[in-house]
């Protein structure tokens, strides 16, 4: 695979160039390559099923990237799982992917009550391995083999694994390095945890261009003082984050070109990019270019882009998501599957080499969302869009119950499923509460079971505590309201619209 060959070349040409900086450790290209060789060597000796996915667990340690490369060099795709994911969800992922091995990079013991899976600690794996023969590229994942599998929220209550192949990723990396000014060994900021594919937007473009990844940890995000100290010494040149994260940084007056003197590119993905954020960034970072991008995990991170200029901001109240990358088309289809007439809204269908082969082990879900369109793989995004007279695409919301909150994608039905399982809950509906065009927080409207709590807030903490063991913190609604009953539609379904009116009045 071209990407792996490129990284290998950098490791030989510039062995001492830094590849990754975390608060605890820095690694060079030579170290990245050599350690991932040892990891691959270990994996090849484990007698794993061919191409079986390996779960890689941890946070922002260089060991994560070393493990990712180790897996793909040994011919196995990896499943990145951040420490923010609760154990019960990890078990679901292991079951769904039939994972045989977990690599734990977290430096804390990871106990999984599941007999079939083996947990190997990163330190132990590397400590046992001497340097052996180089791993031959014939072992590497290639072409249509899976490179990584990222699990996203599924509406049935189970996460689903999106399979991204070596070809899918190569198509993405080619586009990033050709269409964005990010070449030449730059310093890339990584804000997103690795279980979120926004992180792919900096990891592989950085490594494909001899650049270096500067990791932002959750401790820094929790303590902005630490974050700003880290930013000040980061020498960041390419910034990749959700708009929400940039918005948080803008809360501090010191977030400007003085703090990040060399910053030249902002890349945004994951949620709607507000005009106000762009205006502030332009004022504070006059030397930097800003790009808005769009794409679902199923089409490998992002597939459209546009540079946000002052003219664009003057012209639009909602920013366009731009134009698709060269090798990809977007069709706009109506409910009957026919292309809409120009200027009209339709479901965005992505066609091209970045589109995943489907959800791991989920034939039915895959057939619903993926299909072949004139001999190319196509994906129904569930996102509505339209194209203006200049050929620019605009995002116009969802056609189902999937939402984005601060960049995190989730299905309202999955959250409802887990709330309804609580011993205290009879039924529940989750409502996104909007401010302007952005979701500010989630609200759970609940019909409670009998309970012994004196106050509603005590009941709320009890339910939230149960949820904390099942789903990541960002999926837990902020507000809980309690009702004797919830309105239902004529078809006997909970009436979301009426419930929304009821709770927001």
């Amino acid at each position: 695979m071209k990407l792996l060959n490129t990284i290998k070349e950098f490791a030989h040409l510039n062995p001492n160039a830094k590849a990754y900086i975390s608060p605890a450790e820095e690694v060079t290209y030579a170290e990245l390559w050599e350690r991932s060789e040892r990891m691959a060597d270990y994996l090849l000796k484990q007698n794993l099923k061919k191409q079986s996915p390996i779960l890689v667990y941890g946070h922002m340690e260089p060991a994560m990237i070393i493990s990712f490369l180790g897996c793909v060099k040994a011919g196995h795709p990896y499943i990145p799982v951040d420490i923010s994911i609760p154990i019960e969800r990890i078990v679901k992922i292991i079951d769904s992917a039939q994972t045989e091995l977990v690599i734990n990079n977290s430096e804390k013991p990871l106990v999984i009550n599941q007999t079939t899976v083996k947990v190997a600690d990163y330190e132990d794996v590397l400590a046992q391995q001497g340097i052996e023969e180089p791993i031959t590229p014939s072992n590497w994942v290639r072409d249509d083999d899976n490179f990584y599998i990222i699990f996203t929220s599924g509406s049935t209550g189970n996460p689903k694994g999106v399979q991204i192949s070596a070809n899918n990723l190569q198509s993405f990396v080619n586009w990033m390095t050709e269409d964005f000014p990010i070449n030449g060994g730059l310093r890339f900021l990584n804000q997103a945890p690795y279980s979120f594919d926004l992180s792919v937007m900096d990891i592989y473009p950085a490594l494909a261009t001899g650049g270096c990844i500067f990791a932002i940890t959750k401790e820094m995000i929790a303590r902005p003082k630490l974050l700003f100290e880290a930013l000040a010494k980061s020498n960041t040149q390419v910034w990749t984050s959700t708009p929400s994260f940039a918005q948080m940084c803008l809360m501090d007056p010191s977030f400007n070109q003085e703090l990040l003197a060399e910053l030249s590119v902002f890349l945004f993905c994951g949620e709607i990019l507000p005009v106000s954020v762009c205006r502030q960034l332009m004022e504070r970072f006059p030397k930097a270019k800003i790009y808005n991008t769009y794409g679902p995990t199923e089409a490998t991170v992002a597939i459209t882009s546009i540079e946000v200029t002052a003219e664009l901001l003057d012209k639009h109240q909602t920013l366009p998501i731009g134009r698709p990358k060269r090798d990809t088309r977007i069709l706009l289809l109506d409910e009957n599957g026919a292309e809409v007439s120009s200027g009209e809204k339709g479901e965005m269908i992505i066609v091209g080499p970045g589109v995943s082969k489907g959800y791991l082990g989920q034939k039915e879900l895959t057939e619903k969302a993926f299909f072949q369109y004139s001999n190319e793989q196509a994906y129904r995004t569930g996102d509505a869009g339209y194209c203006d007279e200049d050929g620019l695409l605009f995002y116009k919301g969802r056609i189902d119950f999937q939402i984005k909150l601060h960049g995190y994608r989730m299905e309202l039905e999955e959250i409802e499923y887990h709330i309804a399982k609580s011993q205290y809950v009879k039924s529940a509906v989750v409502i996104p509460v909007y401010q302007d065009e952005k979701i500010e927080y989630l609200l759970a409207a609940i019909v409670p079971n009998q309970h012994g709590f004196e106050k509603e807030y005590q009941l709320t903490s009890a339910i939230k505590k149960e949820l904390g063991e099942l789903i990541p913190a960002y999926m837990i609604p902020r507000k809980f309201t309690y009702h004797d009953e919830l309105p239902i539609t004529a078809n006997g379904k909970l009436d979301r619209k009426k419930i929304k009116e009821l709770v927001l009045q």
Partner: protein, 78 residues
């Protein structure tokens, strides 16, 4: 209404939970009532309503952890 009560009312709005009023010594971060994004909202509202600007780098979770402590920190900056 005194300043402390106003701050607590604001926190009730942001955390969307009356526990803030009932137990003003609750740790908002440990209990999951406030996160980084909630903090941003809080600081925006503090600036709008009270005219107090708190750079996010000064917002330390150790000293801005409970409704009472946040009210105290803000009172110091009034």
């Amino acid at each position: 209404m005194d300043f402390k009560q106003e701050v607590i009312n604001l926190l009730v709005e942001i955390c969307q939970d009356d526990v803030v009023k009932e137990n003003p010594d609750i740790d908002l971060f440990e209990s999951g009532l406030l996160d980084s994004f909630g903090t941003v909202e809080l600081l925006v509202q503090v600036e709008d309503r009270f005219g107090i600007t708190v750079p996010i780098t000064e917002f330390d979770r150790d000293t801005w952890n409970t409704p009472n402590n946040i009210a105290m920190q803000l009172a110091d900056r009034k």
